[in-house]
Symmetry: C2
């Protein structure tokens, strides 16, 4: 059996960026993936400016603190200053540009205006209260690497550089297919032998959350012809195909045969629980991920094994998710497979959902993350364990 990390490594080796690039407006770029590294194009701040509301002066002219200094201009933020006239001060506000010739700002709390001039009660050191040009960011400095998935603050950072359009990766098109004659859609009346299709919804949600464009192929009946038609369509329209169910070796599992006939499929035995079987291959050259059919297995395998691969296909720079070390309030026997336990974090530690069966989707909704239990390592109450909050995998 492959270990989980071996399986992820194999997939990453096999991955390449499948998403082309496009230029979009910055306002639409949240969650998108930068195609290129971004360097700073301007200094921030762009000019020396005042850190305070106060008075801009040339400090060498202000030795006599008894005498008011005439005010020659008023500089608000956003309004360009004139050069400071010799022997005068400028009223200045936070963020406003320092006038040429001034070298210091006195905060208003240390001053008093009287008769068209300003009396300085307390002189600061030379250069005080000025934010120098380029203090925060210097033109040419590295800001964001290629492959960065843009967060709110990254978009803000690009905006602060005046960058109005960005080159990003197109959304990865992922075709999603569920298989099984027993599946019916939510909203339909229940019927004997039928169960509602949850995998489609879980998969859509995860993939959309990761920035993918989902191409919905619906439910394939357990018939070779129907699955073949859908797979051909998926290969033509999508960058990656994800299916749930139908890849074990049972007589009713036709996905394997269809993928084999149209490309290639390898069944991987991965030491993960919940989770096997897992299949990887291609349909007419389009990568194919075959997930198990059980709802929790689908969820866990896509999060743990599929996610790094799908990120790589999007051009997202690979970064291993570092688990949080947290205290378990439960015990759990280990097995020969890496276990992903559904847990809930509380201020006192992590609680285990009572049923860890791969059919109990409620176990994933009940809690807020997964504990990774190593092969053959029992967990005892009080142990520090590797916890992955779901939000770290988003």
């Amino acid at each position: 059996m492959l270990s989980v990390s071996e399986a992820v490594a194999h997939l990453l080796e096999d991955s390449r960026i499948l998403a082309a690039t496009e230029q979009i407006n910055l306002m639409e770029s949240l969650g998108r993936v930068l195609a290129d590294g971004m360097l700073a194009v301007i200094d921030v701040p762009p000019a020396d400016n005042s850190a305070m509301d106060g008075y801009a002066i040339r400090i060498a002219e202000c030795s006599d603190q008894k005498k008011p200094i005439p005010l020659s201009q008023r500089i608000a933020a956003g309004h360009p200053p004139q050069a400071l006239q010799a022997g005068t001060a400028a009223r200045i506000f936070t963020g406003a540009e320092i006038p040429p010739g001034a070298d210091t700002v006195v905060m208003q709390e240390h001053c008093e205006e009287s008769g068209g001039g300003v009396l300085i009660h307390q002189l600061p050191p030379p250069g005080a209260n000025i934010r120098p040009r380029g203090q925060d960011v210097r033109s040419g400095q590295q800001m964001l690497p290629a492959g960065q998935r843009l967060r709110a603050q990254d978009v803000g950072l690009l905006a602060s550089q005046g960058i109005g359009r960005v080159m990003v990766r197109k959304r990865l098109r992922v075709a999603v297919l569920s298989t099984g004659d027993e599946l019916i859609e939510p909203g339909a009346a229940s019927a004997p032998g039928k169960i509602y299709n949850s995998n489609r919804y879980t998969l859509h949600g995860l993939l959309r959350g990761w920035g993918c464009q989902v191409i919905d192929l619906g439910i394939a009946p357990d018939q070779v012809d129907a699955i073949t038609t859908l797979m051909k369509r998926a290969a033509a329209e999508a960058d990656v195909i994800v299916s749930s169910g139908g890849v074990s070796v049972g007589e009713e599992d036709h996905v394997k045969a269809v993928v084999e006939s149209l490309g290639r499929i390898d069944l991987w035995r991965i030491a993960i629980r919940p989770g096997k079987p897992f299949a990887f291959g291609n349909v007419l050259g389009t990568p194919f991920l075959g997930l198990p059919g059980n709802p929790v297995s689908v969820f866990v395998t896509l999060l743990i094994i599929g996610r790094p691969y799908l990120f790589a296909c999007q051009g997202i720079a690979h970064k291993e998710v570092i688990p949080v070390r947290q205290q378990a309030l439960f015990g759990h026997h280990s097995s020969s497979r890496e276990d992903y336990l559904r847990v809930r974090s509380t201020p006192g530690g992590l609680e285990l959902y009572p049923s860890q069966s791969s059919g109990v989707l409620l176990s994933t909704s009940w809690g807020d993350g997964l504990v990774r239990q190593a092969v053959n390592e029992d967990i005892h109450p009080g142990d520090l364990v590797d916890f992955f909050p779901y939000s770290l995998l988003s």
Copy 2:
């Protein structure tokens, strides 16, 4: 000064759910907030079903393992079974419904088909390999609480119950206003005295990530009339108004005066760094949050102080974010305010961005979270500190 937790508590006390409800299709519900708690409406699985590919039998009839048992039916998943004829077995596949009269499934690896019958080499215990009806979820059981923000697995869970439409909160309409004559939009040519408006982009990104519908009011010039017009429009169209800049007491800060004239504004001195000043009030009855103008202050105050309030207004059940205890690789002097330090997590511990100035937005993009430094508690290298990965605040 108010402590951060006092400020958050005051805001939460003042909050109420501002978003009305609407019924939507389950497929559109990712990230939306449940208006009502959801109980299970059906048992899962809906009927006893097979956990294996194998043979369904009545075990009391199978004491003689030498003799093949005739096969009377074949039951695939999704196809309703007939009652099991006495003295026969049924070929059955994973997920298929157990036929009435059968009480045990023998896995196929322990059987051998021969001449229309099946020879059982190894009998399991009675009841083996059957997943009983309601094992995973029982009808009437609590599934998801009101106020749950729906994640992929929650949507999957609702789907597994056949629920095709859900009652959710409408998206909270948040009007966003930036103030300052010095602001210009990204993409525009730079000009003396001007700086690019980043706050608009940071705020849009955070609010959209939290499921809000952003109403963009653009940049208000530093003029009372213009701000008044925009504020009236915001009060009419939005559930909450958020502005950045303009709420300190400077001569050029007109937002305060306008909000005061149209409703009420309280300037809060909150012991947070970066972050003060922070204003809370209302414009013609619509709640108003006045953030500082500095890019990092905007980011931190909205994450730490604004987020719990905006979640409450959306009807999201309040849940305190539990920080991760992580090792600091840096030292940092404390102050009389709660510090939110921009850090980067590495396998070895947390690194500090070299500049913690509130103007350096790059500090938020460089890293992946905030360390909360308590008032008057220095941090030394090697200390365990409270770390909030940004993803926990998403």
